[in-house]
């Protein structure tokens, strides 16, 4: 029966090529618009570390007070004092303070020019916490942290540039004239959005190539390469700077259970009230402990352009649907006499439903194929609207292809429901009599 209905559907679609073309175009454009914008939305709103996102938390401690913050939200970074205190407390199973630095790598070969590297000052736990994939060696140890050791982890790309991709563990890397010993090489690793440094990257940036111990970076007085915000003048010199309330550190913890997270939250509260008692904070404890996805949401990682265009595209799809409902209604009701005859010849309502829904499904499939082509063009054109860091994440992968077809067919079936119902209401006897 399905084959028969399909044949009927195709024949009917050929009979009104204009109307059919209109419907296919409406569905195609509607689906393509929503899928293109959805591809960007998906890229920007995805979970960068799905396997661990429920055990990783970003800690915030309000060291600025209600006068300098908005709507009770603590600053989006920590002062060195607080980051250091939390680090020393070691209350989580793993923890790391993080801040971006901007070193230049000076190759041993004096004939080659220095290279600028995206880099972070982090704790030893960083790599295990965030599942950084090592291809040689491993992270430095927490003893290295404690000893303020000059160790370094580099990525595959830098390893290729400096050591032609060979074994480099134990070798030295020159950052701005200072030597660091390689403990490990990680694969190209660039979780997007970059949840551990949303504040400075907006979530999207080229892969960093260098990681050095946080304590060593502080010793070397390496200032942050990201945002630095001060609520008051820190005074002169590095020592005053790191003792100030200027904020420039991220602090992440790994807490394996909900109970551990609750405990840690209490610990943060306790720390803040201690600071209040000590007279440093002149306000009630105001702390946050946020999971990966919540943190990305609070930091508005999804660009407004992506959200606006997704909303507009969704409206676009609805308009195309309404349009298709109208056209299908016209198409089906024009065939009222035919339906009457079929009904008189013994077709039940159900078979009328089947026939017309299959016809609509065929339109949906054709619309989906057109939509697929247009989505492909759209995805290529994403770079015109969105920054390249984001545009390159929007791709027409198999799941998007499948989704496009499913949405197109589902949309056309939804659109077909009312017109089909109307068609099934046609009375057999009434239509056989003269009109």
């Amino acid at each position: 029966m399905f084959a028969y209905y399909l044949q009927l559907g195709l024949r009917s679609l050929r009979r009104n090529p204009m109307l059919t073309a209109l419907m296919v175009m409406a569905i195609g454009f509607g689906v393509a618009a929503s899928m293109t914008t959805y591809s960007v939305f998906r890229a920007t709103s995805r979970n960068p570390i799905p396997q661990k996102s429920d055990v990783l938390y970003m800690a915030q401690v309000d060291n600025w007070g209600p006068e300098n913050t908005e709507k009770g939200e603590p600053p989006n970074a920590l002062s060195y004092i607080d980051a250091m205190a939390l680090m020393r407390a070691k209350k989580a199973s793993r923890q790391t303070a993080i801040y971006p630095i901007g070193p230049s790598v000076i190759p041993e070969d004096a004939g080659r020019l220095p290279m600028r590297q995206g880099a972070y000052a982090v704790g030893a736990d960083f790599f295990t916490m965030f599942d950084a994939p090592f291809i040689q060696g491993g992270p430095w140890t927490s003893e290295d942290d404690d000893k303020h050791a000059s160790t370094i982890v580099i990525d595959r790309k830098l390893n290729e540039k400096l050591f032609n991709g060979g074994q480099s563990v134990g070798k030295q890397v020159n950052l701005d004239g200072r030597l660091f010993r390689v403990t490990g090489v990680i694969d190209e690793w660039n979780p997007q959005p970059r949840f551990f440094d949303v504040v400075n990257t907006g979530g999207f940036d080229d892969a960093p190539g260098v990681y050095i111990p946080y304590n060593r970076a502080i010793d070397l007085q390496l200032a942050t390469n990201g945002n630095n915000n001060c609520s008051s003048d820190p005074g002169e010199g590095w020592d005053n700077y790191i003792r100030s309330e200027c904020i420039w550190n991220a602090f992440w913890v790994e807490l394996p259970t909900k109970a551990a997270a609750a405990d840690y939250k209490r610990f943060l509260q306790g720390y803040a009230s201690e600071q209040q008692r000590a007279g440093r904070f002149r306000w009630a404890p105001n702390v946050r402990l946020r999971g990966v996805m919540e943190w990305l949401d609070v930091q508005h990682v999804v660009p407004p352009e992506s959200q606006i265009s997704l909303a507009v595209a969704f409206g676009f799809l609805i308009i195309c649907l309404v349009n298709t409902i109208g056209l299908l209604l016209a198409k089906f009701m024009r065939r009222a006499p035919e339906i009457g005859v079929r009904r008189a010849l013994g077709a039940s309502r159900r078979t009328i439903y089947a026939q017309f829904l299959i016809e609509a499904g065929t339109v949906g499939l054709a619309g989906g194929l057109l939509g697929l082509i247009l989505t492909g063009i759209g995805v290529l054109g994403v770079g015109l609207v969105f920054p390249k860091d984001i545009a390159r994440l929007a791709t027409l992968d198999p799941s998007l292809v499948l989704l496009t077809l499913v949405v197109a067919i589902a949309a056309s079936l939804i659109a077909a429901f009312y017109p089909t119902w109307r068609a099934a209401q046609v009375q057999p006897a009434w239509q056989l009599k003269s009109n």
């Binding site: 230049s104 000076i106 701005d176 352009e305 606006i308 265009s309 309404v322 609207v385 009109n435």
Partner: protein, 408 residues
């Protein structure tokens, strides 16, 4: 003239009527907001910087190595650039308009006032800046070479002499007369005296968050003693291309211990502007495409449904003709019918447009939709409806009165 019977007939065709009206309503809502977004973006990207942008080149430079003092290096670099063939002038700075990164600060007239009067950007420059930027000094004087100092970036930012923009002067002083007056650039800070006023200079940021102070700039006579420096260079007319090509080599030859990014390290100001407004322009284009496709789809939908209606009503058109309706009567019947449906659609659509705008407003700091866009959209959709229904209506008017006597 025949509104009542048309409405009566439409009541018998609820589904079709609602579908067309709904489509028009939704299209109006989206088109209004899309037009509004286009306007907002276009007006943003057509702002001027106050500079004479042609022939300007921007360089992003980072010195490498263990050095902690950069003053002499910067001086050597600047001397080399200024001596280059085809270069008119150059200076080093922390930031410049459209760079999308820089230093913002609150300005006060009373040093310990809790609340700042407004925000401003700080440009650390020297006596060559005005000439290089092509900015017009309208009051007072430029810095002189002796006033320009090397400044530790972690030290207080307040300097004794500053040049400010006219917009900032007007914001700070009711009469706009700022020359010789004192302003404060930090809460604890020292006073700064305004020695000059420039006509206009934009902030580095193009986003909405800086929209409230996008013409507020303070120029300070200092070079930040830091490894990161931007050099702005003005080439002689016609020499920009050549200077742009020669600059990287010149800098590397002057001092190897530096990094100039391969991409975007040395770029013309046209390039700076293009990059700064890339997203705005893209958004405007996208919304333009959305509008065009939506209007086309809506028009096609109206043509399709109206044709169906005409086909369905051939007989009664024939009867009407037999009863004395002229071709004009039939034409105007369908045009009026479409107008009434579209009118219903645009009324609902206007409400939807404001609803959507409200949502955008809450989510994305957009402005309130102005009535002009709604009116434009309403007129456009009513006209679109009339244009789309014209062909089916003309076909209807050509139905012969004999149709009345034919049994279907």
């Amino acid at each position: 003239m025949q509104i009542k019977p048309i409405l009566a007939a439409l009541r018998r065709h609820k589904a079709g009527t609602i579908l067309i009206a709904l489509q028009i309503a939704l299209t109006l809502a989206i088109v209004c907001n899309a037009l509004f977004i286009i306007q907002e973006r276009v007006s943003r990207l057509s702002r001027t910087t106050g500079m004479d942008e042609s022939n300007v080149i921007a360089i992003a430079n980072r010195y490498v190595g263990p050095a902690t003092v950069f003053g002499p290096t910067i001086k050597t670099d600047l001397a080399a650039i200024r001596n280059m063939a085809g270069v008119e002038d150059a200076y080093a700075t922390n930031s410049y308009p459209l760079r999308n990164g820089g230093w913002s600060m609150g300005v006060r007239l009373i040093p310990d006032a809790k609340k700042e009067i407004t925000s401003t950007t700080l440009y650390f420059v020297d006596d060559h800046a005005l000439r290089t930027l092509g900015v017009k000094l309208i009051e007072g004087r430029n810095f002189n070479a002796g006033e320009v100092i090397m400044l530790d970036p972690r030290k207080s930012t307040a300097l004794p002499q500053v040049i400010i923009t006219k917009a900032l002067a007007q914001k700070l002083f009711a009469d706009g007369k700022s020359l010789g007056k004192t302003i404060y650039l930090s809460q604890e800070g020292k006073p700064s005296t305004v020695i000059g006023v420039v006509e206009k200079l934009q902030v580095p940021w193009v986003g909405t968050w800086a929209g409230s102070f996008d013409q507020h700039a303070v120029l300070l006579p200092a070079t930040l003693d830091a490894n990161y420096q931007n050099f702005l260079v003005r080439a002689r007319p016609g020499q920009q291309e050549a200077v742009l090509k020669a600059l990287p080599k010149l800098l590397i030859d002057t001092n190897r211990m530096r990094v100039i990014p391969e991409e975007g390290g040395v770029r013309s100001f046209e390039d700076v502007r293009r990059r700064a407004y890339e997203t705005d322009r893209g958004m405007a284009i996208l919304m333009g495409i959305v509008c065009a496709v939506l209007l086309a789809i809506t028009a096609a939908g109206i043509v399709g449904l109206s044709s169906f209606w005409v086909g369905q009503r051939r007989k009664q058109i024939g009867v009407r003709r037999a009863l004395g309706a002229t071709k004009g009567d039939i034409l105007s019947y369908f045009m009026t019918e479409n107008f009434l449906i579209a009118l219903g659609g645009v009324i609902v659509g206007s409400a939807l447009a404001y609803g959507m705008n409200q949502w955008l407003l809450e989510q994305f700091e957009m402005q309130r939709l102005s009535l002009v866009y709604v009116i434009t959209g309403v007129v456009a959709l009513l006209l679109l409806g009339q244009a789309a229904v014209l062909a089916p209506a003309l076909r209807a008017s050509r139905v012969s009165p004999v149709e009345a006597t034919r049994s279907v």
